[in-house]
Amino acid sequence: MKVGVVTFPGSNCDYDAYSAIKHIMGEDATFLWHQSTDLEGSDLIMLPGGFSYGDYLRAGAIARFSPIMEKVIAFARSGGLVVGICNGFQVLTECGLLPGALMRNRHLRFSCKYVHLRVERTDTAFTGRCEDGEVLRIPIAHGEGNYFYHDDEVQQLEDNGQVLFRYCDASGRVTPEANPNGSVNNIAGIMNAGGNVLGMMPHPERAVELILGSTDGLKILESVRHALSYQSV
């Protein structure tokens, strides 16, 4: 697996993502500069967390017009696997690869803590290595992670099975108390209708070693590796 990690000016989780792929998983990883127009043969594109372009205007709004994003969008439209984490999720909604929008957290505070996520489906490229209904412990770190979509459109997402991760308590119950930012239906991560683009606010790349507090993030990255190995057979 070769993973291209995009670096925008203001990205600050690009090295975490690179390290998780390269040093923990032992896979090939490369940084892709935002001004580049070459995906360098990557099988998976990761849009990392951070504050691209200082979050000016709206989080992710300016990054989407970077030269590299034209290639990422074409890659995604042709079925390539793309994962956007935190700011990367915001970029994916801004550029239209994923539906909805990420708004200011309901309580207006930046939230940085471990949360629990319920895995809603395991028959996807991003969750194949998880158990049905598994609860993952993965950290969040964001001020604008409040997922919003209009009522009927959220219902459409739910009906299509595009919601992959929901904020829940330690036992997997999806409650208002477990919702850290006001996201509609406790949504923490979604995929596109084609099933090849994932966006999530929590940071799986920060939960890849026991010394970090959890290795649950690896399950998502290993799911992708597993899906890619199937693709290439």
Binding site: L57, R58, F65, P99, M103, R104, R106, L108, F148, G182
Partner: protein, 80 residues
Amino acid sequence: MSKKATVFVRLKDGVLDPQGVTIAKALNQMGYDEFTSVRSGRFFELEIEDNEANLDQRLEEVCSKLLSNPVIENYRIEKG
């Protein structure tokens, strides 16, 4: 000759504006009880070189592609 345009961007009705809610609460705590709701937004002042034939269309594009997010926001353009 250059022209000016002002673009006002606001959240659509029905989309929660946590900043507005917080500002309204602060006003009420300050004793301004008559202000029952606040909606926040932002505006942009644009200076434009006036040699573009389809300026209106380009202005609309700028608003819908970058200055606003059509999923959650509306915009209004005032020219001049």
